[in-house]
């Protein structure tokens, strides 16, 4: 019982230290608030906004911001703010899901490559190199053209195009962790290859990947926006930030808000994720400073 208490105590202390370092810069607090706010808004839009995001109202086309439409309306008379908030759902969902896809697959490939070495390693890493040779947006665009549009496909495309970075980083850390004595100790004390790979190696690569995933969330959101901007992403009329900017561009001279407001949300969200990713790196893996 007492021992159990000691366990809790150390965990609590660790959490406290963690939070202390994480929030040591004021900007991080700001970024964290933005992320939380975005998530809350995305969840609560239907309650908060009286408008339907997709219902056009031809009487209210391209209205400038006023009391009833804080950010005005677009060419089909839809409330811009409402659409932006619905767009948050798409951005966050695509960002999180595609990062997860990339992280999990990339980590698995990196682990296999680094752990097996030899021919398996060469094959996996050459394929990763080949994927890296094609710029991310192009790769996602290309895969998207093969798979077709739609939420699921977009997540998959962006996820796949970001795999190589995770595979590389994971492989690198697997190779360096492998040399450490505690891996040798694992072998000596009877752990199987699989046990070592998962329990000792993967667990120790996890934090650097977690850091990278946070930092890449912003990238994924940017890529989704770019694809949607090029009309290769989310299908209209579903609201997405990139699509809204693209659509608003046509009416730029009549109501700049339609194109510019969604962009500000992109910048804020991506920035917030980047700043939190930096802070997370400082907490979890101070050694990574500069490499990511």
């Amino acid at each position: 019982m007492e021992v159990q208490k000691g366990k809790q105590h150390t965990t609590a202390k660790r959490m406290q230290e963690f939070a202390g370092v994480f929030f040591s810069r004021k900007l991080v607090i700001f970024g964290f608030i933005i992320i939380v706010a975005m998530i809350l808004l995305a969840l609560l839009v239907p309650v908060l906004s009286p408008y339907d995001p997709n219902l056009s109202s031809l009487k209210e086309v391209l209205r400038h911001p006023d009391i009833s439409h804080w950010l005005g309306t677009d060419d089909l008379g839809r409330d811009v703010l409402t659409r932006i908030l619905y767009g948050t759902r798409v951005s966050l969902l695509v960002g999180l899901a595609s990062t997860l896809v990339a992280g999990v697959l990339g980590m698995a490939l990196g682990l296999i490559a680094g752990y097996m070495e030899g021919i398996v390693d060469s094959v996996i890493m050459r394929i990763m190199d080949a994927m890296l040779a094609v710029p991310i947006v192009i790769l996602a665009l290309f895969l998207g053209s093969a798979l077709g549009k739609g939420l699921g496909n977009i997540i998959f495309c962006i996820g796949i195009s970001m795999i190589p970075r995770y595979a590389r980083v994971t492989r690198g850390s697997v190779l360096s962790v492998k040399k450490l004595d505690y891996i040798t100790a694992g072998r000596i004390y009877g752990a199987s290859r699989f046990q070592i790979a998962v329990k000792h190696i993967l667990k120790n690569c996890l934090s650097s990947n977690l850091v990278m995933m946070t930092m890449n969330l912003g990238d994924a959101i940017l890529t989704e926006a770019s694809l949607s901007y090029l009309a290769m992403g989310i299908n209209p009329p579903t609201a997405s930030w990139g699509g809204m900017v693209s659509n608003g561009y046509e009416w730029l001279s009549m109501n700049p808000c339609v194109a510019i407001a969604p962009g500000i949300f992109i910048v804020l969200t991506v920035w917030a994720f980047n700043v939190c990713g930096d802070a997370l790196r400082d907490v979890l893996d101070p050694k990574l400073k500069g490499t990511l």
Binding site: G20, L180, D181, T184, A185, I188, Y189, G190, Q195, K203
Partner: protein, 676 residues
């Protein structure tokens, strides 16, 4: 003599987010012209920080001089602004520094010549051509062959010893008044260390430079230093001439340090006397003497009188000490804890009659060399070359040699972490040389290993209790959950740790404590053999003694055999029953500790023993200069014939052609040399 540099009341702080560490606390000392002064202390004692603060080389933030003065040539150099002209004149021009890590202290992308010429041009106002000329002369002076060619080399093309010579040449290049050698030889092998120290001593004596040796190794300074400052937890606890410190030590810490070091001449039948506990928290100094919690001589008055101030000892004008008690010889003798006898129930004779536990026959290990786009194998390096020895049950067998001699590879081959090229490994009668990984299970539960780096040998994300439990679970020893818990408690108890700390992560422990955890893990499955691969060399002196004692006690209680691999000959002598000396992948001499240390026959063993410093200034002064020269050749171009022939003072034509075989040179003593 004139005081060249005088430090008064220096305090150095490290300001961190939530706390302030005082790394140097009101330190005062002086340097005289042309003398060799040593600063001795364990890690965290503030010995380096003290030296760097005058040159403002401590990164700021977090480092910060909180008070004090450093007078050098009539000026307080602490008053110079950071990066000011005056400060830069002192750096390199008046005070030169040689740093610890020869591998990282030179700029990897600049040639040696350019790096040397840089400061020469700056301080001696020479032209580039003159500077190169001077650099070449200096390289010759520090014993670098082909100096002219070497100027064009990059640091990675030189060995560690050579790089350290370059560092010395660089530090000396502008005729400084003071040369600070900060752990300058710590990263080097014992023979190279002796060469470098000898070189530094000769040069400073010749040029009249003051040399400051900063080191954790007390024995090292006995031969070289005129005066010694002993530091503990950011304070100077004792200072005096070398004789005063070694023969009339009167601060409990100095006394403790001297007792904790195993030495080549100390009686082997006594346990080492470690200093108990760990260095206190520098952020929380409290009101009392920092050494109080670890002090065996502490009395009531120590708890009430605050921090002791340095005061002269007797009527000597060099000997000072910071202690509330006056530890005269009588007091010391009365209160000194009597050295405990080291029980060695298994006598040397018994061990031999005992059963052979591990037999290594003619073991060779090679590593392939790859090259090209397709990583084609183009050759092999042999790391271990026809090595044979036996380890008996309950015996401690020492394997010594310098870095790269293949001693760790032998260990790894025995543990089957490295494939064997030829030869045989028999453990407990079974041939395990080519067993498959899966079939090794039953063998491996009887073997265990302790590694050098206590930081790398525990998974940073695994609770230490789980780490200790791992062998028990993996080897399926049939413990129930409750029995497992119980066993872990028992193991923690065995190594002197509290069982309740099992839920913590490795980073919450000090180096010594981690090594205890590693030992607990090694003991878990009750192995009959434990390989200690440099198990204590990363630890501080006082902690080293704790761990050595622990290892000896455990052996006494549990009766396993140790294969003890180390480069420190004094430690190996203290702990081992029999010893083998390795050089460049081969065993050159083997024998009982008495024979090997009492009557070394192989020139390499002799040279090694000759290079080991002893904490005995009298003896050291009368010892002749070290004879061995050169460096260990790379295993890639192993000399034909005897491996040692390139450095051997006795080498003849025959040695260069033919390899000498192992010969019996006495009972229980063999060596491989033509000149026995």
């Amino acid at each position: 003599m004139k005081r060249l540099l005088e430090v008064k009341d220096l305090t150095m702080e490290f300001r961190q987010r939530s706390k302030t560490l005082i790394a140097a606390n009101h330190i005062s000392y002086y340097l005289e012209e042309g003398e060799i002064v040593a600063f001795v202390g364990e890690s965290g004692s503030g010995k380096s920080v003290t030296q760097y603060s005058g040159l403002q080389l401590v990164p700021c933030p977090p480092g910060h001089v909180a008070g004090g003065e450093i007078w050098f040539q009539g000026e307080n150099i602490l008053s110079y602004g950071p990066g000011s002209e005056k400060l830069r004149q002192i750096r390199g021009g008046q005070i030169g520094v040689i740093f610890q890590e020869p591998m990282t202290s030179l700029n990897p992308v600049m040639t040696i010549g350019k790096q040397m010429a840089e400061s020469i041009c700056l301080h001696l106002k020479m032209s580039k051509k003159e500077a190169r000329q001077r650099a070449e002369e200096l390289l010759e002076k520090v014993g670098i062959p082909d100096a002219k060619e070497r100027l064009k080399a990059y640091p990675h093309q030189l060995s560690g010893g050579m790089r350290q010579r370059v560092m010395i040449a660089m530090a000396l290049s502008c005729n400084p008044k003071v040369l600070i050698a900060d752990e300058a030889t710590t990263a080097l092998d014992v023979t190279t260390q002796a060469q470098i120290l000898e070189l530094m001593k000769n040069i400073v004596k010749e040029t009249g430079t003051t040399l400051v040796i900063v080191t954790h190794n007390l024995s090292l300074v006995a031969r070289y230093a005129d005066r010694v400052y002993v530091m503990y937890a950011g304070e100077i606890v004792e200072a005096g001439t070398t004789d005063e410190i070694f023969y009339h030590a009167s601060h409990p810490y100095t006394i403790g340090l001297l007792k904790a070091i195993p030495s080549l001449s100390a009686p082997r039948e006594q346990k080492l006397v470690p200093i108990s506990g760990n260095v206190g928290n520098l952020a929380d100094r409290g009101q009392n003497c920092m050494f109080l919690p670890r002090c065996p001589y502490a009395s009531k008055e120590c708890e009430s009188k605050g921090t002791p101030q340095p005061a002269p000892v007797g009527d000597s004008d060099t000997h000072i000490r910071a202690c509330h008690r006056t530890l005269t010889r009588e007091v010391l003798e009365k209160e000194q804890p009597a050295p405990q006898a080291l029980l060695r129930t298994k006598k040397q004779g018994d061990a031999q009659e005992n059963q052979v536990l591990l037999q290594v026959e003619d073991l060779s290990v090679t590593f392939p060399i790859y090259s090209g786009v397709f990583r084609k194998k183009i050759g092999e390096v042999s790391a271990v070359n026809h090595v044979s020895f036996q380890l008996h049950r309950g015996e401690t067998f020492g394997l010594v040699g310098e870095s790269g001699c293949g001693k760790s590879t032998v260990a790894r081959a025995i543990m089957r972490l490295e494939e064997t090229a030829s030869g045989k490994i028999l453990f407990d009668g079974t041939d395990i040389t080519h067993r498959k990984e899966k079939e090794l299970y039953p063998v491996r539960r009887n073997m265990a290993m302790i590694f050098q780096d206590p930081y790398g040998s525990l998974d940073p994300r695994q609770r230490v209790g789980d780490a200790v439990m791992e062998p028990l679970v993996n080897f399926k020893l049939g413990y129930s959950k409750k029995e497992l818990d119980h066993r872990v408690d028992e193991l923690f108890d065995l190594v002197g740790l509290d069982g309740t700390c099992r839920y913590r992560l490795p980073h919450e422990f000090s180096g010594g404590q981690r090594q205890r955890i590693v030992i607990a893990r090694a003991l878990a499955a009750n192995p009959s053999m434990i390989i200690c691969d440099e198990a204590i060399s990363a630890l501080d002196v006082s902690i080293q003694a704790q761990v050595i004692n622990l290892l000896e006690e455990l052996k006494e209680r549990l009766g396993m055999a140790y294969l003890f691999i180390a480069h420190d000959l004094s430690v190996v002598r203290h702990i081992s029953d029999r010893i083998a000396v390795m050089y460049l992948g081969q065993i050159v001499e083997t024998g009982g500790w008495k024979e090997l240390y009492g009557n070394p026959r192989h020139p390499y063993t002799q040279a090694l023993l000759d290079s080991v410093p002893t904490p005995n200034p009298e003896y050291e002064r009368n010892r002749s200069a070290h004879k061995i020269s050169g460096e260990v050749p790379s295993p890639m171009n192993r000399p034909d014939g005897c491996a040692f022939c390139t450095r051997c003072p006795k080498a003849s034509e025959k040695c260069r052609i033919k390899m000498p075989a192992m010969e019996q040179v006495g009972e229980n003593h063999q060596a491989a040399c033509f000149f026995l």
